[in-house]
């Protein structure tokens, strides 16, 4: 690693008084905390458990698909499995994990604040998450649903499975998401430390801010829509039921008005993590700060006008389909801006190939591959061929598992020393990263091929000729699962036996690394005055007086 220009007097210290032991250590002090760091950690634990549950469902699905006919479960159980897999992974893991988990922990640290704007709402958001999770899980244990996570009407209003508690659970989880988003928008606007203008905000905060806008504006629509399905199930009023004049496709419009932007609720935080990781591990300013910052807002904005690409085969007019197809491709432009800037950041950087960087490399590959197949799917004539096949499954898993899980794991390793004060074993980290990246490719590249050959998604059984690729996919998933298990084991061991990390083991210039590890409850004893941009690796700008021209990280800075 390149020698650091930073003062390194506290490098090996474990902060004796930190948010983990102060002001108190009892269980109640956690359950009743207002500290954004503790709430963030509780979210991380809860969402990681959800990830494990969702992953278990995924493995059972892959196990069933090992052979063409019945393998380990009956068709109804299989339908319930893929529904629960989707619901758990999306509502319980991917939507909250980075914003509510890492975002809660990091946003106030990064902007030099003592806490988020509304600490009590923050805690309420956590409890709503728990209640929503319990209600949804109760529904799953009580009978589960077989509608798929999309709850399409009219089937979802008629099926005998227990859809209602899962819908209500998702409704409550939506409120948790709204409160977190609201908190971060207000925090970003009002809590920034003196000297931190919008153009000095870390890119992580920019991306979380863009995510929060989507959470606020899209989630209420989902909440109301799910309630309408609940009402339809309970009283058969026929809001979406053709018998009473209802239009089932209206449900699809409402659902995707939320659920397509929700893809960006999952991906933008992943991009937030990657923007931080790429700077730290190439020891270099981000290339094109403003472009990366504004493209997050661009994705959030355009994301609201693309929902119709889920309805290409639902009787939408050809004109509408064309418009939605073109608008969907705009997302590709903003994503490409980010990808090129991240790649350009590496140029002439001093790269430390640590575990988070390995995940960055995986992320870049999966995002580009998933993104390019997304542009292909946005083309109406191609989508008509691929719709509801494994091609679509593979596409969105490349983005939502590939990209988002890579970013989650990168974040977990990158901020593990800050959150726990200890480091993880680097060697095991790289081994697990290689296993996960290879396992992922073996799981989902066969699914692209299967989809292109015409294997439909969500089917319990398939034709013999698809078996070889399905076996490959299941084998890949097993490697992936083993890799994730290795991470779980060594991180748990590191909690106790890991080497003490010190305040800044990566020699990062991110503001959050200016605090001791683990940070004290109040974050900063004195509100810091920010005098340089985020990730200012150039060094000479650091001591500029605050009111002089802001030393924005220029693209050609190095």
């Amino acid at each position: 690693m390149k020698p650091s220009p930073l003062p390194s007097d506290d490098v090996a210290a474990y902060a004796p008084r930190n948010y983990l032991n102060a002001p108190a250590t009892g269980l109640m002090s956690w359950l009743n905390t207002r500290d954004h760091k503790r709430i963030g950690v509780m979210f991380l634990i809860a969402t990681t458990i959800a990830f494990a549950v969702g992953g278990l469902f995924a493995m059972l699905i892959r196990l069933e698909l090992l052979t063409p006919g019945p393998t380990v479960m009956d068709p109804m159980t299989y339908n319930r499995m893929f529904t629960l897999h989707g619901v758990v992974m999306i509502f319980l893991f991917m939507i909250p994990v980075i914003p509510s988990g890492f975002g809660n922990f990091l946003v106030p640290l990064m902007i030099g604040a003592k806490d988020v704007a509304f600490p009590k709402l923050n805690l309420l958001s956590f409890y709503l998450y728990l209640i929503g999770a319990v209600v949804a899980l109760a529904g799953m244990i009580w009978g589960g649903a077989d509608t798929g996570w999309t709850f399409y009407t009219p089937y979802s209003t008629d099926t005998i499975t227990k859809v209602t508690p899962i819908l209500l659970g998702a409704f409550i989880l939506g409120f948790s998401s709204i409160l977190t988003g609201l908190n971060f928008i207000v925090t970003t606007h009002t809590m920034r430390a003196p000297g931190m203008g919008w153009m000095r905000m870390p890119l992580f905060v920019w991306s979380i801010y863009a995510t929060s806008i989507i959470q606020i504006l899209a989630t209420p629509v989902l909440g109301m829509t799910l309630l309408l399905v609940v009402v339809d199930r309970a009283f058969h009023l026929g809001v979406f039921d053709p018998t009473w004049g209802g239009d089932p496709v209206l449900f699809q419009h409402f659902f995707w008005f939320y659920s397509h932007p929700a893809v960006y609720i999952m991906v933008l935080p992943a991009m937030a993590v990657i923007s931080e990781v790429v700077c730290t591990f190439s020891h270099k300013n981000i290339f094109g700060y403003k472009a990366v910052a504004y493209s997050s807002l661009g994705i959030a904005f355009v994301g609201f006008f693309t929902w119709g690409h889920h309805l290409f085969t639902s009787g939408q007019s050809a004109f509408d389909a064309g418009i939605f197809g073109i608008l969907s491709m705009f997302v590709g432009i903003f994503t490409a801006i980010k990808v090129f800037n991240w790649t350009a950041t590496l140029y002439k950087g001093s790269i430390s190939f640590k575990t988070p960087f390995a995940y960055f490399v995986g992320f870049l590959f999966f995002l580009v591959f998933g993104g390019m197949t997304g542009v292909a799917l946005a083309t109406v004539s191609l989508d008509v061929h691929w719709h509801d096949t494994y091609f679509v499954v593979a596409h969105f898993h490349f983005i939502m598992v590939g990209a988002v899980m890579m970013a989650f794991l990168a974040a977990l390793h990158y901020w593990f020393p800050k959150i726990t004060g200890r480091t993880y074993p680097e060697g095991w980290g790289l081994v697990a990263a290689v296993m996960i990246i290879l396992g992922f490719n073996f799981t989902f590249i066969p699914q692209f091929l299967l989809g292109n050959m015409g294997m439909p998604r969500r089917y319990y059984s398939y034709s013999e000729r698809f078996q070889a690729l399905n076996v490959a996919s299941t084998a890949g998933a097993s490697v992936l699962a083993i890799g994730l298990t290795i991470i779980l084991v060594y991180l748990l061991v590191s909690l106790r036996y890991g080497r003490v990390a010190g305040s800044n083991p990566w020699l990062s210039r991110g503001f959050e690394w200016d605090t001791p590890s683990p940070p004290p409850p109040e974050n900063y004893p004195v509100t810091p005055v920010i005098e340089h941009g985020p990730h200012d690796y150039d060094g000479e700008n650091i001591t500029l007086p605050p009111h002089q021209h802001a030393p924005e990280p220029e693209p050609h800075a190095s």
Partner: protein, 209 residues
């Protein structure tokens, strides 16, 4: 007087008030989006069944909606007056004006209940419960599905708003707020105005067009 209302993580009251206001406006945006779903459904089904929607709308008692509109707009005025008293530090007057607003809200709900009761007798009910003989055009049951969903959700908001006004009015009476610090009064008033504003859209959609 209570301890200082300044929370530990804010530098000063002004910043805290700014944060609270911004948070409230964002919350109001989510409330509007909640209703937007129902309004969008209304727009679609009105487009599909223009005749049934027009006839069903005519079959309502417009005077009830009209009086309720007057009642709610008046309650917004009294809430605004209460807020004005709060800005001058007169908590007792704030409580009085908020009390009047709550009474007006009760009048609104009583009229609404009268109307619902009437629908139950005539059979102007949602979906499969629709038995009204006056309008038989297809789509009339859907009109009443939306009618009950929209006015029902609005009525829930009226009840929540009343509760907010009662709590804040009581605290104002105890002298919790001063001319310098009365943000909760302001936020409560904002919420009530939203409840009123939504009704101003509901009234023409349901009763007039």
């Amino acid at each position: 007087m209570q301890a200082s209302p300044l929370a530990h993580h804010f530098e000063n009251l002004e910043k805290q008030a700014h944060a609270a206001r911004l948070g409230m406006w964002l919350f109001l945006a989510t409330e509007i989006l909640l209703f937007t779903v129902l309004f969008a459904a209304y727009a679609l089904y009105r487009f599909l069944f223009p005749e049934a929607f027009a006839l069903s709308s005519r079959a309502l008692e417009t005077w009830v909606g009209f009086v309720n509109t007057i009642v709610l707009v008046t309650s917004s005025l009294t809430v605004a007056t209460g807020l004005h008293s709060a800005t001058r530090g007169d908590g007792r007057k704030t409580a009085l004006w908020f009390g009047i607003s709550v009474l007006l809200a009760v009048v609104f709900l009583v009229l609404k209940a009268y109307e619902y009761n009437h629908h139950f007798h005539t059979g102007q009910l949602p979906g499969r419960f629709y038995t009204y003989e006056g309008v038989k055009a297809p789509g009339a049951p859907m009109y009443f599905t939306l009618y009950f969903l929209i006015t029902g959700l609005h009525a829930i908001h009226v009840i929540v708003g009343m509760t907010v006004l009662v709590v804040i009015g009581a605290l104002a009476r105890k002298g919790r707020y001063t001319a310098a610090y009365h943000v909760p009064v302001e936020l409560g008033a904002l919420y009530w105005h939203l409840v009123d504003l939504i009704w101003i859209f509901v009234f023409p959609l349901i009763y007039l067009i």
